[in-house]
Symmetry: C2
Subunit: 247 residues, 2 copies
């Protein structure tokens, strides 16, 4: 959200990460409650007022990258190809969050353990996640067919954005619990395919997208598509319906 120059941004990130590393270290060794902002600043070699230029509170200090990740996610949305399914765009957007965690697995795993132990840190993390959800909700809302006005669009956008974020967090949490082992990107794509199957056929979200549904026990598969839908999209929808994990 900052419009600082690249060099200033890089210096800013360096200070934020130093403060974050100091906070993580102190929370882990001394305990969250017993650690003060002054101690975090001192351990990072900066003044108390510098700390408060970067973070509002000590619980914010261990999440130095959410602001920049939010900006990157927004760039992904802004640069989306015109004909991409908006749900897919949002999935690509939140991948920026996963990449941020996956870039430093050890730090991410240690931080996850802290958030599990300290309610204030967990709540801080939950609040960060809510910001991504709001970004994606606004984006999806802007993608509705402008000719189909209906009062349910804000609800649909919020529910669909929430589903993508929930799927992402689910996979992320599983990866963190496994100490950062496993192919998190592949797991994420699998989770997104499930969300895509659930929401991809919502008429208001993807007005021109084909719909396919398999019957519960797999005896029947029914597909409905507009005559002007691209064949590749129809094939993909059928293929996804055939690979529903419940079969």
């Amino acid at each position: 959200m900052n419009s600082t120059r690249p060099q200033a941004t890089s210096q800013r990130l360096k200070v934020r990460r130093q403060l974050a590393a100091a906070a993580m270290e102190l929370f882990a060794t001394k305990g969250y409650e017993a650690t003060t902002v002054d101690e975090i600043a001192a351990a990072a070699g900066v003044a108390r007022r510098t700390f408060f230029r970067h973070f509002r509170s000590k619980e914010e200090a261990i999440f130095p990258d959410h602001d920049d990740t939010l900006v990157r996610a927004e760039s992904v949305l802004d640069a989306a190809p015109a004909h991409e399914n908006p749900i897919d765009t949002v999935c690509r957007g939140i991948k920026e969050v996963m990449r941020m965690y996956a870039a430093s697995p050890a730090v991410s795993v240690q931080r996850y353990k802290l958030t599990r132990e300290v309610p204030a840190l967990r709540e801080r993390e939950i609040a960060s996640v809510a910001r991504y959800e709001r970004l994606f909700t606004r984006y999806l809302l802007g993608q509705f067919d402008e000719h189909s006005h209906n009062g349910d669009q804000p609800l649909l956008a919020e529910v669909a954005a929430g589903a993508v974020v929930t799927a992402h967090n689910h996979v992320l949490r599983r990866w963190l619990r496994a100490d950062g082992h496993g192919d998190v990107e592949r797991e994420l794509d699998h989770a997104f395919a499930i969300v895509r199957r659930t929401f991809g056929t919502l008429p208001a979200i993807a007005a021109a997208a084909p719909a396919a549904v398999a019957s519960p026990r797999g005896e029947v598969l029914v597909t409905v598509a507009r005559t002007d839908a691209p064949l590749s999209e129809v094939m993909r929808t059928i293929e996804e319906a055939l690979h529903q994990p419940q079969r």
Copy 2:
């Protein structure tokens, strides 16, 4: 979550609500940052240690009813009829939250305004919501067909629970922004019908439920149902698909 006797519970609720009213009043007049726990306790006529028997922090004090509402929501799940669609059960569960807000519209609206202005209060509220989501996720997970083991069930349960909670919060927020005016229960049922249409056909969640899908422009409606599905359920699914708001 407390196993105190009814009388003790009623006394407990009275003190919690006195503290909450005092906190709301002080946050609104003096400002959130400037208000101390000691002042809240004094305004409610109790000792500081009594405050901390009820709330962990001053930001918790304006939400006195979430603990009890969570217990009530859990009771709804525990008492659900055997053949109810689990998504419907969860919708009935979260109605307890809406009722809690709707029971005192003026307080709810004032508190909402505070949460919009004070990030710490908003984060506290978001954290409370997360507790309902976890309850519903666990419930849905327990409702899957025990014979169909698949690794996606935890994800599906979490995404579906999240959708119900998101739909609820969306309607609640709209009602609070309208200063508590409007038929919130009817709005909620409408929102739940949308979620139900989206998730009701997930094979793993409702193995025997019929599925219906309308084509984007409404030229075609296709329904698939098992031969042993109740006719009323099939009719309802078709009716819901025909009333999709996008048509």
